[in-house]
Amino acid sequence: MIYFDNAATSYPKPPEVLRIIYKTMTEYGGNPGRSSHSLSLAAAKMVYQCRESIAEHFGGNPENVVFTYNATYALNIAVKSVAGKYGRILISDIEHNAVYRPVTALTRTGLGCDIFHVSDNSDETIKNFCDKLCGETKIVVVNLSSNVCGLSVPADKIGQLCRERGIIFIADASQCAGSKNINMEKCCIDILCAPGHKGLMGPQGCGFAVFGSAFSGENAANLKTFAEGGSGSASLERTMPAFLPERLEAGTLSTPAIAGLLAGLNFVKHIGVDEIADHEKKLFIRANEMLYNTNGVTVYVPQCSGSILLFNIEGVLPSEAAEVFDSDNICVRAGYHCAPLPHNMLKTGKNGAIRASFGAYNRLSELDSFYRVVKKLIK
């Protein structure tokens, strides 16, 4: 099987991820931090170790790493915990529904929303961003790298502009965590959200939001809770703890998924983020060379080399093409990729497009089989 759907979830996972999940289920089987026995405390230590590893990787504090089910929950928690009753939220036109939908929901409560255009030229993107900023802008939520095409945003410049204006900057690193070095301090990111199961090579079932130092200690008490429930502490209180991360972590965490994320992150650190990015870029460049000059194939944003190639084949529905790829044991994804905003911007049409997304385990030789199917589909 050839797996070119790494933007949906990375596959396969490193063997050490599988091993640690099994080990966690058998040796750290307690509920993290809930009980006083050794299994529970061992699970809590494993969870904290993962908080430390994430904090080290992104430049934050371990105590400010909030675990969630996935990046969508992390983004919902991030946006809704800081949103007030008034003001405007600025997002980009490459946002995933994980941002677009919660922000749209907030507009129904009285907040305003503006959208800026992301170009393949970063200066132009910054100009578009500045044009949409206004005195009422309170929060900026930006997808650092599109899940649909190779477009990305200059996070450091956007972060600086937000910091100067006292605007909260929330970064969606879903598509680039693990293949792009991101430092929260350097990029002035207030809250960084990511899934564990994509570029960080962990299993599904775990994502996180890293809150910046402005939310440390008692400042966390100002964050609105997204869900309330057990936290393993202050049980007699009627409200969630006033400190991160427990304030925003109601209920039992998924220790196996968090342990798997820890092993996945160790894998990424061992190989190196830059090395993984270079590898994915080589795959993109080769695939783009194959498709860009092929009659009957439209490649969207071919100039942005990353890990994602978005294309359409003349006269073939993307969904039909994906079925043909699948029958040849090649996994790609067709449609809108849960992101209508970038598809509308790229004018991919009413059926979306085909996405081939590359990962750490893909090989250049796999592209020959991929290209054979493309040629087969051209009428």
Partner: protein, 73 residues
């Protein structure tokens, strides 16, 4: 023998504190406290040698680790 426990409101704070104490070679054990030992219900604590309590508190203070109180049991 008396046990000395520096209590914290959450397990993450306790683990953070334990890590910092470890950096200063202060040995400690993570413990969970039952609701009858605290005012707010379940809590966690860092158990240290009673002769090291003041030094441990000092280190935690310097690193901004919020502990609640010290229990002697």
């Amino acid at each position: 023998m008396t046990r000395c426990i520096i209590t914290t409101s959450t397990i993450t704070i306790a683990l953070h504190g334990q890590k910092i104490l470890g950096d200063y070679a202060v040995g400690s054990t993570l413990v969970k406290l039952s609701s009858n030992e605290t005012k707010q219900g379940c809590a966690h604590g860092i158990q240290v040698n009673c002769s090291s309590v003041d030094a441990a508190k000092n280190i935690l203070d310097r690193h901004g680790v919020k502990y609640t109180t010290v229990i002697y049991k």
